[in-house]
Amino acid sequence: MIHSLFLVNASGDIFLEKHWKSVVSRSVCDYFFEAQERATEPENVPPVIPTPHHYLISVLRHRIYFVAVIQSEVPPLFVIEFLHRVVDTFQDYFGVCTEAAIKDNVVVVYELLEEMLDNGFPLATESNILKELIKPPTILRTMVNTITGSTNVGEQLPTGQLSVVPWRRTGVKYTNNEAYFDVVEEIDAIIDKSGSTITAEIQGVIDACVKLTGMPDLTLSFMNPRLLDDVSFHPCVRFKRWEAERILSFIPPDGNFRLLSYHVSSQNLVAIPVYVKHNISFREGSSQGRFDLTLGPKQTMGKAVESVLVSSQLPRGVLNANLNPSQGTYTFDPVTKMLTWDVGKINPQKLPSLKGTMSLQAGASKPDENPTINIQLKIQQMAISGLKVNRLDMYGEKYKPFKGIKYMTKAGKFQVRT
């Protein structure tokens, strides 16, 4: 399926290549570079590019293009999903997935890629299995290895491969048994000029960090499972149990994993945590524009809105912005025309505002469209949909684990049109 993989950095250099079948010359990437040149933005490179003899399917993550070379018909999502899984694995192993990290760990990268695909078909993509095959590099381990001559590579077939719970390795031992669950919800919204909501929906995930000895069997139940409209599970979750009782029952993988992602049914009204008062105007003929932005909390259920970050792509004609924030700091990049305002926490008594003028290119006509404002924010200890975990039980093991649940609400794709 996947013939070869090329890693291309932002400046268009191939810095790693791996072939699973016969070697494909790296000149095949020329077609990719061509498409890259044609695209104005890095994101605009089409994910699927046909060439006379091959097809290139690429993903862009962390400013690295992962270009897979395909020779014949294959579902493109299959390749895309796999490439993303590769990136996730790298991130898992090296903490970050950057060109430098990959170059530093090129041997581990190669070993990983070798295990993840056989003849272009995915072999082992489960992080638990891979970690048994190839241990993640740590400073300590590298030192031990150099001294003792032991290796990073497992000699046995990972226990998960053959078991019916391939995601969990056997023989897990911890002195402190803990299970943490983070319920993170993101609000995707488009707010129009007048402040009314055009579309708003809530997407949530439950990320887990489970460090439990043995083979624990967990069940997690919700106070209000009806809120969940559409869900997708980690393979460990028993689907039937969910269908019948709306209970998440699973033997968890060891370590960090995403247990569930969900979509809150669209019938429910979405609470919009902040409002934006804006007045951005350009006058015809003048080289000045006015910029006036005020943020305020709206429906936050008494919780503080934190880590607020406002960004906006100003029109091309804007040369510079001379603004005055009531709190936080702002930056304006004259090249990309990106205005970023790091607000921090919103104080309901004293609303943060950003006021000032923008200088426009002399002679340039008034921009047609006012910029869209993107907002990021965080609200701790609250899931905006009202989702609540009822209880978490463990079966199959004797000890008493420490359990923790954390709620958080974030802004996802939260846009205000002006």
Partner: protein, 1113 residues
């Protein structure tokens, strides 16, 4: 060489030439070179040389004795490979380390080998023996890696070795190795396609594999090697469907797309006009009752093949997968296979994928775009999910726009247009232009808004951005074409704007509009032409063509004003650089300017040029994409990718569905051999032919399936057991159960299919068998009219019930209850009259005997089928099970002499009584041996009066020589006291009595050995009866013992780990008291028989019966 030495003192220049000319020379010279000379030669050499020096260094490291150095060297080599540098000259040094003990080093050598073996074939052969040895390694991981590397070495000479290795590994114990062999198949095939036939054999074998690990890989191999061999899939279809949920995610994608293709060739279309569909089918997964009933109802319209439904049902949960590729493949499967109304269930999942990465969004949106053309309704509720955000990348924006346009209808158009207004102002001008096109499409599709859109577009003409204006012009042109009459104002407006528009396409469009509607703007058109004549030479080609067109049209309509202008333009065109324009000019000139040469065509010039033109249809770019299977690369590119497998059309007539049936393999349960034996023995002496017997069976079974409740219960249990099994399999990971489950699995699916077959052949056989069995009890199988839902249906239900129960350690109480309702089949024994019983056996016993194993097969198969691969031995709790079977013995109730022609025989079918759980089912065969018909046969007074008896319905008339089987239920209250009652006809009354053997008062249960011991521990002392008995020598094998015990008592076999102890368990029918029988074999054909039960009277009677039975041969 001598030359070199003599040269030593000579000039350096000469020396250098010599060096360059001969490599050998140079080498010999090298040590003798002076410092100065060395410096010179060094500088002279290319950087390649320094590189070589670097590799030299690596070579040394690789050849050193220190492992750490070797490893370090290999790591650097891998670094070189990763960078795409050539490291092939190190091959000999690297290949030596292939047998190294250090696993990491070995792995890296493998990486190297796979990369360079193709280039260094001879040297690569050196490593082969190492892999061949490793293929025999006890460690499965080593075996698998060896096979992986061996098959990745693309050296044609080792094809036979690879072939052998693949064949061996395909039969390996470890599923992981088998998986690797499936991958190796594809590699070998790409290396040497001539091996196809042999490889197909291996694929065929691996397709039968029950391992979820193997399934995905082998289907992948199938798709690569022989995607057209659909016949290989038939037998494995159901297995694949059932395993699907447990297969790893990548395998799921491959299997689903293969099954989509398969289904399109094997099932008939569910989309037929007028076909009724079962709305509740989705629910049916969880609640099979409705499905079963509905299916029956719709039998006349369209029945989806159960296998078709199986596929849809088993793929549905995968919509919840976290893997986007899996979700997409299920979505396409539903799109291509499901009845139209069911497709909508994929919508939500697809919309969910839009939250994922940009690339995923791109592909999903493409597919949604194609879907939304055909099925607006599917995505309309999610319209807002397709609203464009300023942060989306351009191709995502365009796709969303496409979808929004597709979704537009009268109801939502105002919302969409408002949204579009925002987009038009976007800074991304390409996107703004696309929006204008979209507005155009909305305007043509929805006539209500055409005017609104047109006005909006005209406003856009004054936009500052020229791409926006140009796009608007083009779209307006298209719109005007659809209804030109009212819009001369707009044309005038555009003419005014003409000078400011620079985009060629827009200018061309305006010119075309002028020409087309020149009669509506008679004053302006010639003026425009005048302006164009001035700028003709400076225009783009596309504009020039339109100028020529405009000139020609004006010439025809208004030649007075424009003749000169036209001629001028035609002259300019004649000498244009572009041949298209020259060609057009020549053509137009001939057409419009009358001359001698131009013939008849001239007259038609007006009709040619000013013909009414059909309005363009503004179509989606995704209009024709549906010719490709959704989710494929071809669909994404809108061109056929190499290796694309066309999705065939539905067949008009469904191909034979029995091809998917799997052959029965006798289940490997303890009692299985017994069955086989009994059957064989019987078939030797069979009275009726095999065929007929078969039909009888069918008849009886079919009555079971006819009964909706029974069949539904069976299917219910199916889904239940599936649930359980999945849980089970999660809990137990042992390979141990695999082999046994394997065979069971096959047999199970077989039996399922058999049942289906039976359904088809309903009724007819029943009729057939009746007259044939007139004199005997053979009618037993076909249920008499009196008791329509008796034996067989109960049988099947009980069987399936127990199956599902088998797996679950602890089940819901409700089911448990149900279970206990369902009692075992009591059985009748003939104690005297051996010959008669033998004959009787031949006549009718085949049915129960064969039936029972079948139901058992069904059950075990069902569960194993569903359980997938990793079935382990499950420990069932104490449960009522299917009755074991033995020869059914018939007793005489009423002799025809005493009964004045009416004779009655009865036997215990050992089935749970339908009427009351505490009753024992009894089947009575009434035969009229007289020469006149008997009327109103019924049951009269009973004695004792308190006797709880379920009578059969009165038989109105029994013709001479006819016989009828009726079922009754008698509550014996756990005693062998005879039940006395009167059998009455219209004229007579006969007192009869049924005295049950103690063994018939039980129903069998299954339990584990541990449970057995535990329960036995509770029933000691008074509750224990034991005796040492003599065993007939023929009865020493465990099979023979079970057979004898089961013939006496209706109990269940408890599987035992000890060879010398046999255990049986049952419950009394009325009170439900446990009855535990254990038989401990002693020396010299004696045995200790122990019975533990609260019912000590029954125990002693049972002991006596068993003693007798076991003593006789």
């Amino acid at each position: 060489m001598d030359v070199g030495f003599s040269l030593r003192s000579e000039a350096v220049g000469a020396m250098r030439t010599a060096m360059v000319s001969a490599e050998n020379l140079q080498l010999t010279l090298k040590p003798e070179l002076s410092q100065e000379e060395q410096a010179l030669t060094h500088s002279n050499r290319s950087p390649k040389e320094t590189h070589k020096v670097g590799n030299e260094d690596l070579k040394e490291m690789l050849e050193s004795n220190k492992e750490s150095l070797k490893l370090e060297a290999m790591k650097r080599v891998v670094g070189l490979i990763a960078k795409g540098k050539n490291a092939s000259e190190l091959f000999p040094a690297v290949v030596k380390n292939v047998a190294n003990k250090n696993i990491e080093l070995k792995k890296l050598v493998y990486v190297y080998l796979v990369r360079y073996a193709e280039e260094q074939q001879d040297l690569a052969l050196l490593s082969i023996s190492t892999f061949q040895r490793a293929l025999k390694d006890p460690n499965q991981f080593i075996r698998a890696s060896a096979l992986r590397v061996l098959s990745s070495i693309r050296v044609p000479i080792i094809v036979p070795i690879m072939m052998l290795a693949i064949k061996e590994s395909a039969a390996d114990m470890s599923p992981y190795v088998r998986k690797t062999s499936a991958h190796a198949i594809q590699k070998l095939y790409s290396l040497d396609p001539d091996q196809k036939e042999q490889l197909i054999e291996v694929i065929e074998k691996l397709l039968k594999d029950k391992s979820t690990l193997v399934a995905g890989s082998v289907v992948m191999a199938f798709e690569e090697v022989c995607p057209d061999r659909i016949d290989l899939i038939h037998k494995n279809y159901r297995k694949l469907c059932n395993l699907l949920v447990d297969v790893e995610e990548w395998g799921q994608v491959v299997i689903i797309s293969m099954l989509t293709r398969y289904a399109r060739t094997q099932f008939i279309s569910p989309w037929k006009e007028g076909a009724m569909f079962d709305e509740n089918n989705e629910k049916a997964f969880y609640d099979s009752d409705s499905e079963e009933k509905k299916d029956q109802m719709e039998a006349k319209t369209y029945i989806m093949d159960p296998d078709h439904r199986l596929l849809l049902r088993n793929t549905k949960p995968l919509l919840q997968s976290r893997n986007t590729a899996v979700v997409m493949s299920v979505a396409q499967l539903y799109w291509h296979l499901a009845p139209k109304h069911e497709v909508t269930i994929v919508t939500k999942s697809l919309v969910r994928l839009l939250r994922s990465h940009r690339e995923v969004q791109y592909i999903v949106l493409q597919n949604i775009a194609t879907m939304s053309i055909q099925r607006k309704g599917m995505f309309e509720p999610f319209m807002k999910s397709f609203y464009v955000r300023s942060t989306d990348s351009t191709h995502i924006k365009t796709l969303k726009l496409e979808i929004l346009t597709n979704l537009a209808n009268e109801a939502n158009i105002s919302t969409i247009l408002r949204e579009f207004q925002t987009y038009v102002k976007s800074q991304d001008k390409a996107f703004a232009a696309a929006t204008i096109q979209a507005i155009g499409r909305c305007a043509t599709n929805i006539s209500e808004v055409t005017d609104t859109c047109l006005n909006g577009l005209v406003l856009l003409l004054s936009n500052r951005d020229e791409t926006v204006v140009a796009e608007s012009v083009v779209v307006i042109k298209k719109l005007l074409q659809t209804q030109p009459t009212q819009h001369s104002e707009i044309i005038k407006h555009m003419a005014k704007l003409f000078d400011n528009i620079t985009v060629p396409m827009a200018r061309a469009s305006i010119l075309w509009l002028m020409g087309e509607y020149c009669e509506r703007v008679p004053k302006i058109a010639p003026d425009v032409l005048r302006k164009m004549a001035k700028t003709f030479t400076a225009e783009e080609d596309i504009v020039k063509l339109q100028i020529v067109n405009l000139a020609a049209k004006l010439y025809l309509t208004n030649s007075k004003q424009t003749k000169l202008l036209t001629q001028y333009i035609l002259n300019l065109g004649k000498y244009d650089q572009n041949y298209d324009i020259r060609d057009r000019t020549r053509f137009i000139r001939q057409l419009i300017v009358p001359s001698e040469k131009s013939g008849a065509l001239n007259k038609y010039a007006r009709r040619i040029l000013l013909a009414p033109k059909p309005a363009p249809v503004l179509e989606s770019a995704f209009k024709d994409r549906d010719r490709y299977q959704l989710g494929t690369l071809s669909h994404s590119l809108n061109t056929k990718a190499s290796g694309y497998q066309e999705l065939s059309d539905w067949p008009a007539v469904a191909p034979d569905q029995s091809v998917r049936n799997v052959e029965v393999i006798e289940p490997v349960k303890e009692w299985a051999p017994l069955v086989g034996k009994a059957k064989q023995r019987k078939s030797d002496e069979k009275f009726y032919s095999d065929e007929e017997e078969e039909k009888e069976e069918e008849g009886s079974d079919s009555s079971g399936s006819e009964d909706s409740s029974s069949s539904s219960s069976s299917s219910e249990s199916g889904s239940e057991s599936e649930e359980e099994s999945s849980e089970e399999s999660e809990k137990t990971s042992s390979d141990s159960g695999k082999s046994s489950s394997g065979s069971e699995q096959e047999s199970s699916s077989e039996s399922e299919s058999q049942q289906k077959k039976k359904k088809k052949t309903k009724k007819a056989p029943q009729k057939k068998s009746k007259p044939a069995a007139a004199d005997s009890d053979s009618d037993e199988n076909g249920n008499g009219p009196v008791a329509p839902a008796s034996s067989s249906s109960a049988d099947s239900s009980s069987a399936s019930e127990t199956d599902s129960e088998d797996d679950s350690d602890s089940d819901s109480p409700a089911v448990q209850k149900k279970k206990s309702d369902v009692k075992s089949k009591p059985k009748v024994e003939v104690k005297s009259k051996k010959e008669v019983s033998l004959l009787d056996l031949d006549d009718f016993s085949p049915a129960p005997t064969t039936k029972a194993p079948k139901s058992a097969v069904l059950s075990s198969s069902l569960l194993s089928d569903l359980e997938g691969l990793s079935l382990s031995n499950v420990s069932p709790a104490i449960q009522v099970t299917t009755p074991s079977f033995g020869p059914v013995k018939t007793y005489e109730l009423l002799h025809h002499m005493t009964g004045k022609g009416l004779s009655a025989k009865y036997h215990f079918p050992r089935q749970p009584c339908l009427y009351q759980p505490s009753m024992v089912a009894v089947q009575v065969v009434l035969t009229n041996s007289s020469d006149h018909s008997l009327e109103e046969i019924h049951i009269g007074d009973r004695n004792p009066a308190s006797l709880n008896l379920h009578c059969f319905n009165t038989i109105e008339r029994l013709e001479p020589e006819a016989s009828v089987t009726v079922s009754m239920g008698i509550d014996f209250s756990d005693s062998t006291q005879a039940a006395n009652f009167q059998l009455c006809t219209k004229d007579d009354q006969f007192s009869v009595s049924i005295q049950p053997a103690v063994g018939e008062l039980f129903m069998p249960i299954t339990m584990t050995e541990q449970d057995f011991s535990k329960e036995q521990g509770k029933l000691l002392g008074m509750n224990e009866t034991s005796e040492t008995i003599a065993m007939a020598t023929a009865n020493t094998s465990s099979q023979a013992i079970s057979k004898q015990v089961l013939s006496v008592a209706n109990v269940g076999v408890v599987s035992s780990t000890q060879n010398n102890i046999h255990r049986f368990a049952g419950r009394t029918v009325s009170s439900g008291a446990l009855v535990l029988v254990s038989l401990e074999m002693k020396e010299s054909s004696s045995a200790l028989l122990t019975i533990n039960t609260e019912k000590s009277v029954m125990a002693s009677m049972l002991l006596r019966d068993l003693k007798q039975a076991l003593a006789q041969a």
